[in-house]
Amino acid sequence: MNRRTVVKAIAASGALMGMGALMPRVALAAWNKDAFSAKDQASAMNALYGGSAEASANVMLKAPAIAENGAVVPLSVSTDLADVESVAIFIENNPTPLAAQFMVPAGTNADFSTRVRMGKTTNVTAVVKAGGNTYSATSEVKVTIGGCGG
């Protein structure tokens, strides 16, 4: 490799990086890479909603107290708040806490069920964004067999 090619390679990679930084933030609904790859709950929440959420009784999180199998933990989130924009599920001690985010288009009820994996006993937090504010509900799920092993 001579000097010329090295210079060219650096210039090219610089241009690529610049493009990455200039790429406009796509619509809010797009898959949020920062949030989904964040390693702890606070930064995942920050990436997704720009801050922490206020605990609220209007967010209903249905989760089992004890999950026998951490690979399949049924969860339901619903809320009676108005103007719900999205609902997200965080699992605190997972390698990447953000599990899923549901958008709530007008006409769709803010009531979702899914099944998630969790590695160990941890808090599950449902976060609801409604009318520009974020609200949450947390419940602890005890896991007797982890879901992340082989």
Binding site: W31, P74, P95, A99, Q101, G107, F112, S113, V116, G150
Partner: protein
């Protein structure tokens, strides 16, 4: 190949949808038999529309269980109508499918 199984039921002006995908949802944290990590491969977005209007949109992470189950309900929808499902995978693969409302 369709990966989603959809059960949608119209009831009193709204429709309950339960759907399940046949998908491994590989987390990227498991090791294969050769001791190397199996690369992550999972569904990252699922969108359902009804009559051209988006009624459900989910962004999924690796923490969603294998064979993801998703349930939701929306206003409107009648027996015999169609739901259009579009999904993408983190690998870039994507697909569209349809389901009936019963």
């Amino acid at each position: 190949m369709a990966i989603f199984r959809v059960k949608a039921k119209a009831r009193k002006g709204s429709t309950d949808v339960k759907m399940m995908a046949k998908h491994e949802m590989e987390t990227g944290q498991r090791k294969g038999k050769d001791g190397n990590l199996i690369p992550a491969k999972f569904l990252d977005t699922v969108t359902v529309s009804h009559g051209g209007k988006v009624v459900f949109e989910a962004n999924l992470g690796t923490a969603v269980s294998k064979n993801p189950y998703l349930a939701f309900s929306f206003e409107g929808g009648a027996k015999g109508e169609n739901l259009d499902i579009a999904w993408t995978e983190n690998s870039g693969a994507s697909g569209t499918e349809s389901g009936d409302i019963k």
